[in-house]
């Protein structure tokens, strides 16, 4: 494996971690909580896409759309049924609710699917293409492209649409947003729906590259954590860059050290970032307010 091949493969995985980190950052910024269920939402997206493809044989984009809609509905439901009731409580309460949903979703997925491993068909199964001397499968190429498009759309959404601006306002100052007539409950639901829809989309993208099984989420969640921490936890471009870096580091670890070291590359990233630059590459030094 040449370094270029490793880096290109890292970009494909990295774009998935970037999307996980993106969703984590979205929810963290609005509700000040880490969504520990993001990995399971990804898994749901993968399984919905798989089931739709397998049982209805519709074209791939429709399966993708079904997964995204299901993910968005799931996210909004989590927010509306549970999180909204405890939104103003101790941060442990909120985090515990997301842990609860993470376990619940995993358990529900295990009831019909068991702990078996499913293989998700690739969208395009043509020969790998060569870019700058590195081999890359079309599937990886699509993954990177979709991740970049999602980031761009998100950027435009925040800049151009009223809903996006309401979200930003709520993120910056909840009380202020309330005063100018924004309904924070609606914004919270929207944020969760958006983050979960991105999560489900990530699942459909990740499933062909990885394997599809109910426990797949926690691994992606950890890598997403590493990416978000690297990006400063509050920055959308930070999450994207962080994701790509984590993906590349992971492949380099696998290529030059060992495959078992690959599993812990993300922990090393998290710990190293927190020791060297705790507010991440794009974060600001935190200010304590009394």
């Amino acid at each position: 494996m040449t370094p270029a091949t490793l880096i290109v493969a890292g970009l494909a995985n990295g774009s998935i971690y970037a999307l996980v980190a993106l969703a984590l950052v979205l929810i963290y910024k609005t509700q000040d909580v880490i969504n520990f269920g993001q990995g399971e939402i990804l898994m749901v997206g993968g399984f919905v896409g798989y089931s739709v493809l397998e049982y209805t044989h519709v074209p791939y984009p429709l399966a993708l759309l079904a997964a995204v809609v299901a993910g968005g509905a799931l996210g909004a439901a989590i927010e509306r049924t549970a999180l909204r009731r405890v939104a103003e409580q101790h941060h442990i309460t909120l985090a515990m609710v997301t842990v609860g949903f993470s376990v619940l979703i995993k358990g529900v997925a295990r009831l019909p699917f068991g702990s078996d491993i499913y293989t998700f068909p690739a969208v395009l199964s043509s020969a790998p293409v060569s870019i700058a001397g590195a081999e890359m499968s079309p599937q990886s190429l699509i993954t990177v492209a979709v991740a970049l498009v999602v980031a761009l759309l998100l950027f435009l959404f925040f800049r151009l649409t009223p809903a996006g601006k309401q979200m930003q306002a709520t993120q910056q100052n909840l009380t202020g947003a309330r005063i100018v007539g924004i309904n924070p409950g609606r914004v919270f639901s929207m944020t969760w729906a958006l983050a979960a829809a991105i999560g489900a989309l990530t699942g459909v993208l990740a499933a062909p590259l990885a394997l599809l099984y109910p426990d797949m989420g926690s691994d992606f969640l950890l890598k997403g954590f590493a990416a978000a921490v690297l990006g400063g936890l509050e920055s959308v471009p930070g999450a994207m860059v962080g994701g790509f870096i984590v993906g590349i580091i992971e492949m380099l670890f696998g290529g030059y050290i060992s495959t078992s070291a690959q599993q812990i590359s993300s922990f090393i990233v998290i710990i190293a970032v927190l020791l060297i630059r705790p507010y991440g590459l794009f974060g600001r030094r935190p200010v304590h307010r009394v």
Binding site: D32, V97, G100
Partner: protein
């Protein structure tokens, strides 16, 4: 004095339990007692001090492995390995906590997630020391010629340790340290303004919680006789979270109730992991949203369970000198 004797009575009554059990139910009861210790430790951290940490199950693994490896591979007696297990866990737990302490509180959860995965990875992959997935057998320990073999004998050892740890927990929580924990949970800046050394107290609660996890882990190794890294993963952690939340955070008796209710569940549903996870998930969500005081809070509300000693002392104070919201036991 009379109250102290009364407090001893339930423990004395427990000594008669082996007369009523067969091998399997005795084994389950032993596991429950082990979990009472482990969950008391988690309750310090999660309930009293309000720190969200994911490393408790992994630290329990450190305790279990310390005791088992020292005994099986080095030949150090289990009775020395048991406190060493607590100390080893406390040291490693502190390491994670201190690195995260300087940062915003959300990083604590992230660091401990990474840390817990790393510890389990080490247990799995450092085969030269931990024997990896093959697991470790704990030799039967012997106390002055009395072999601790069989579930009934193990029971008395576990009971003595659990009772000691329980007593210790009460003493700590009724002292100014216990109040400092709650003050930190409610408002760190306010706690600091009241002369509480926040970093020191946080380090203390992490070390104590990890110490309980380590002792619990060593006892777990004693009860099972054989340990593998998989016992200290995510599912165990979720069970522990559920036990704290279901029984009642901010309440020692609550931890015991949670341990009592949730220890048997993985045994009953051994072949139905999906169903187990659904139950834990529902317990976590429903308890946190609808019943934040857990079962203990409910029982206190109904007047069945007396309020914790900590809260009783507080109510006797003539002026609201203590943080007011901590006294009612709800987050």
């Amino acid at each position: 004095m009379r109250r102290r004797i009364l407090a001893l009575l339930p423990w004395l009554a427990l000594c008669a339990v082996p007369l009523l059990t067969n091998g399997y139910s005795q084994y389950i009861i032993n596991l429950i007692l082990v979990n009472v210790t482990v969950i008391t430790g988690l309750n310090f951290l999660l309930g009293y001090a309000g720190q969200f940490s994911f490393s408790h199950a992994a630290l329990m693994g450190i305790g279990a492995y310390t005791a088992a490896l020292l005994s099986a591979r080095v030949g150090i007696s289990f009775w020395i390995g048991l406190p060493l297990a607590g100390v080893a866990s406390a040291a490693i737990g502190l390491l994670a906590a201190i690195s995260a302490m300087r940062l915003k509180r959300v990083y604590l959860a992230l660091v401990t997630v990474a840390f817990a995965e790393l510890l389990v990875w080490v247990l799995n992959n450092w085969r030269a020391v931990t024997l990896g997935t093959d697991g470790v057998n704990l030799p039967v320990p012997s106390l002055f010629g009395w072999d601790v073999d069989g579930d009934k004998r193990v029971f008395y050892v576990v009971l003595a340790c659990t009772a000691t740890m329980w007593w210790l927990a009460r003493r700590i929580l009724e002292s100014h340290i216990g109040r400092a924990f709650i003050a930190i949970r409610e408002n760190e800046i306010l706690a600091q303004c009241n002369g509480i050394n926040v970093p020191l107290t946080k380090s203390l609660v992490f070390a104590m919680s990890a110490f309980y996890a380590g002792i619990g882990g060593a006892l777990f190794a004693l009860v099972l006789g054989f340990i593998v890294p998989a016992s200290f993963g995510l599912l165990t952690l979720v069970t522990q979270f559920s036990a704290v939340v279901l029984g009642g955070p901010l309440n020692l008796a609550g931890g015991a109730i949670g341990a009592l209710l949730l220890t048997a569940l993985p045994e009953v549903l051994r072949d139905f992991q999906g169903l187990q996870e659904v139950i834990y998930g529902v317990v976590l969500i429903v308890c946190v949203v609808v019943m934040p005081g857990g079962i203990a809070g409910l029982l206190q509300h109904l007047g069945v369970l007396p309020a914790e000693a900590l809260a009783r002392h507080w109510r006797r104070l003539p002026t609201p000198a203590a943080p007011p919201s901590a006294a009612d036991g709800t987050p």
